[in-house]
Symmetry: C2
Subunit: 112 residues, 2 copies
């Protein structure tokens, strides 16, 4: 068992250099890359990932060249892909990048 | 200067946890994730990345559930995204994953 299995993240995404992915593994892993495959969505993700505590509120996200509803749409897509978690606190919803997500994605590119 | 600059790979893709990506960085990085955001394309990429010498010929790629011309189309997309290099040897074109590409992608998920 890898430590990452203890974090609540689905056991996905073996290193791409290890062996050919199975169709099911490829579906799960590709869904995460697809969510990061849009420039605006990737900027929003990096804004959150680089914030203190790896979390941010919709209210913190600006200057990405799209409207607030579009930001919310992108946040929904990132959450659906398992890249962000969300939590309501008072008026605002806060989005967070779990460290395990970064570890999971990083390990897919580990050298053989 | 990072060693990775010596490999001929464009200096792209800072860690997503470091600071918000600039629009230009996000464009470049998202293009690579987008190329990996299709399950069949990702399986083909993992077949090549996990082959001996991280290279394979179109003739080595089968059982991905699509026709040879579709495999070739996916290979072209991966090459255009800078994820594969190609070289003709006799009858066949060989595709290769440069180790620097894996390092570049892996570093985008480095923890802060």
């Amino acid at each position: 068992m890898l430590p990452i299995l203890d974090t609540g993240v689905a056991p996905c995404c073996p290193p791409l250099t290890e062996r050919p992915l199975t169709p099911a593994e490829a579906e799960r892993t590709a869904a995460m890359f697809k969510a990061l495959g849009d420039p605006v969505r990737l900027r929003i993700f990096s804004m959150i990932a680089s914030s203190a505590g790896s979390e941010a509120c919709v209210c913190d996200i600006s200057d990405v060249g799209v409207s607030q509803p579009t930001v919310s749409h992108h946040l929904k897509k990132l959450r659906e892909a398992g890249l962000l978690t969300s939590e309501r606190r008072g008026t605002w919803v806060y989005y967070r990048v779990a460290p395990s997500v970064l570890a999971t994605l990083g390990q897919t590119f580990a050298a053989a």
